[in-house]
């Protein structure tokens, strides 16, 4: 008995006693502190990431928001004496008509100031008036008001981007132009509506006329081609490699190569597109078709890798269950594995496409950074794409393009956010539990 008691008197401490002791309590406190620190690191990291993102978007918005509105001048056009053949409206002297309309805004100015007056509104004025009349031939022989975009300088002046108090030789508008602008403003001819041209017009030399429509259509065509090529090929390759390919040295090598392809810089794919599609096959330069094919090369490894991961994630028990009731291997894959893997595959595809949408280098190499003033009407007509349009605008000296570059980046980011939102939505829609 005493032996037992003495053994009991110095027993190894149980875990409960251990935790209750002074030292144990200290250890627990230390662990709590470590936990809290760990959480704090995580929160700090997220804050930094969000902060950088906020700075990026903030800069873009602050420099780009002015591009979403456009200064317009209401000009009165008098076509009563104009010589316009209704059968061939295009042939009329629109330049003269526009000049007359603009000069009539400033009846006090001498003819010698014609140039100053013309510089108040966009040089596209003749075409804008012409297009309006072609849309509505009833205007022939009448007097009507039309909104014409102000020239880039006046636009900047109106948006407050030009400091009126700075010395005259430091600013791009003269005192006289400021005076004319104030006069128009006083007459109520100046308005600043939403800049629809940004979304409906193609590129132009004049920032006040330039828009993203051509680039949006170009990007759309290129992405459509990319999707049509990369999705089926990528998915078929993933299914074959994951489900059917024998595991041997060959397939192993193919796997390694695909993984490496995903890491190849995109400019290399551009060079490949240039060398193969343009030089060997002689396809047209700057065409969205070629852009899409080049982007497809780049996107395919991404799709294959994402699709294989999605296929791998399908539990083998589902496959075995199907085989167990006598489904063939192909039936098991098509009926059971593929539907379960589809959300992952689609998500991977959309993320791959989003990457392709933002890709610039390969498109530069195949010439999609050309100056093109009309939206492409087919996959083969020359075109720009959103990222290359940004590149072009960022390179242009006119003030108006500075804000437009930021605005274009915002538009591109908007498309990317939409695509990722679709991916998330698809995933939550299609994802099933098993």
């Amino acid at each position: 008995m005493s032996e037992i008691e003495s053994a009991m008197s110095t027993p190894p401490r149980t875990i409960g006693q251990e935790l209750m002791s002074e030292e144990g309590a200290r250890r627990v406190r230390r662990r709590y502190r470590a936990d809290a620190r760990f959480r704090a690191y995580g929160i700090i990291a997220i804050c930094i990431a969000l902060g950088v993102l906020a700075i990026l978007v903030g800069t873009l918005v602050s420099s780009g928001y002015t591009a979403f509105v456009q200064t317009q001048v209401r000009v009165t056009v008098d076509l009563r004496d104009a010589d316009i053949d209704p059968a061939d409206v295009r042939a009329a002297n629109w330049r003269g008509i526009a000049t007359g309309a603009i000069e009539s805004l400033f009846p006090d100015l001498p003819q010698s100031d014609a140039r100053v007056m013309r510089d108040m509104v966009s040089q596209g004025a003749p075409f804008i008036i012409r297009d309006a009349v072609m849309d509505d031939p009833a205007l022939i022989g009448t007097v009507f008001d039309i909104e014409i975009p102000a020239s880039d300088r006046i636009d900047q002046l109106n948006k407050g981007a030009i400091d009126r108090d700075s010395p005259a030789d430091h600013r791009v508008v003269t005192d006289q132009q400021i005076g004319l602008f104030d006069q128009l403003e006083a007459e109520g001819r100046i308005s600043t509506p939403f800049n629809t041209a940004l979304f409906t017009a193609a590129d132009s030399r004049f920032p006040e006329l330039a828009g993203l429509w051509g680039a949006i259509v170009g990007s759309f065509y290129a992405l459509a081609v990319c999707l049509v090529l990369a999705f089926p090929i990528g998915i078929a390759a993933a299914i074959y490699l994951e489900e059917f390919a024998p595991k041997n040295r060959w397939t192993e090598m193919i796997e390694i190569n695909i993984n490496n392809l995903a890491a190849v810089p995109s400019v290399v794919f551009g060079l490949l597109g240039l060398a193969v599609f343009l030089n060997v096959f002689g396809m047209p330069r700057s065409a969205p078709l070629v852009g899409g094919m080049t982007l497809a090369l780049m996107t395919m490894p991404t799709i294959i890798i994402a699709s294989r991961a999605a296929l791998k994630a399908v539990p083998p028990s589902i496959r075995e269950g199907a085989l167990g009731v006598g489904a063939s291997h192909q039936q098991a894959v098509l009926h059971h594995v593929l539907p379960l893997a589809m959300p992952g595959m689609l998500t991977g595809t959309i993320i791959g496409l989003a990457q392709a949408l933002g890709e610039t280098a390969p498109l530069l190499l195949i010439g999609m950074n050309a100056f093109i003033t009309a939206a492409p009407d087919s996959m083969l007509s020359p075109s720009t794409a959103l990222p290359t349009q940004i590149y072009i605008w960022a390179d242009s000296p006119e003030r108006g393009f500075v804000a437009r570059t930021s605005a274009a980046i915002l538009v591109l980011l908007g498309f990317l956010v939409c695509m990722n939102a679709i991916a998330i939505w698809l995933r939550s829609r299609l994802e099933r539990r098993w």
Binding site: A322, V325, G326, Q331
Partner: protein
């Protein structure tokens, strides 16, 4: 028919006096299995009688599942697995290259350890097999198969009013019975069950044991189990595996009451395993 044959290193009693009195359904001779370099089965030979329940028992890793999966060639799906020897079902060699493995698997259904219903509706789970095998002409035929399979699996009462709900929303025991219903819906001749009750509570287990007993009338059932009482309760024949060898194979009463091999005795009395 008391013929005891000895094989290199293993004494196997192929069939002791066969209490079932049934003709042989599955006939295995000298079956060996390698996983890559590693040998998992060493010359297993046994005759499994038709319309009876045969249980495989033995310690973990002894090759029960491996042997079971040889019978419907599920091992084909494992790249590194190679099978030697000869297995026939109704005298037909199932490893004959001219035999269609998909048809074989339709004849030899399988129920797995973990319930694995398809993530589809209860109805579609059962209907899948009959559909792909073209067993039905019309929707009403299919409805009939679904209903009778669920009834035979003892699940009809519980799910008849929610056939279109996802199968994954059922309890584990219900899911396992659904998997059994799914297996019998294609009217196989043999049903392989690999520890079908290991994830289930005693009540669900009792359900499935009853079910197995009823299914014996129409199917040949081979079941792997770690639960010796279960083997004793449901099976007519029992095979004891150890380290990839079939140590003893006889009718269940003999194996449990009068084991011929000391290893079997040690195992069923709980001295090792």
């Amino acid at each position: 028919m008391n013929e005891a044959t000895s094989h290199a290193g293993s004494v196997s009693v192929q069939h002791a006096h066969d209490v079932t009195g049934m003709p042989t359904k599955v006939h295995a001779r000298e079956v060996t299995v390698h996983y890559g370099e590693k040998q998992a089965l060493f010359g297993v030979s046994m005759d499994i009688p038709a319309n009876s329940v045969t249980a495989f028992i033995g310690p973990s890793g002894c090759g029960k599942s491996t042997f079971l999966r040889c019978i419907n060639r599920m091992n084909d799906t494992i790249d590194i697995c190679s099978v030697g020897g000869r297995i026939t079902i109704d005298e037909q060699d199932i490893y004959d290259p001219s035999l269609d493995v998909v048809q074989l698997r339709a004849r030899v259904g399988m129920v797995f350890q973990k319930p694995n219903p398809f993530p589809k509706s209860i109805y579609d789970n059962i209907a899948y097999g009959p559909r792909i095998h073209g067993l039905v002409r019309s929707k009403s035929d299919l409805d009939g198969i679904v209903e009778s399979s669920l009834k035979r699996a003892g699940l009809w009462k519980e799910v008849s009013d929610r056939l279109s709900e996802p199968a994954t929303g059922m309890s584990g025991g219900q899911q396992q019975r659904l998997c059994i219903a799914r297996a019998i819906a294609v009217s196989p001749e043999i049903i392989l069950m690999d520890e079908p009750c290991s994830a289930l509570d005693p009540i669900s287990t009792a359900h499935i044991e009853e079910l197995i007993d009823e299914l014996r009338e129409n199917f040949t059932i081979i079941i792997v189990t770690h639960n010796l009482q279960q083997a004793a309760r449901v099976s007519q024949m029992t095979g004891f595996f150890h380290l990839g060898k079939l140590i003893e194979y006889a009718d269940t009463g003999d194996v449990f009451q009068n084991p011929q091999h000391s290893m079997t005795e040690d195992y069923i009395t709980g001295r090792f395993g």
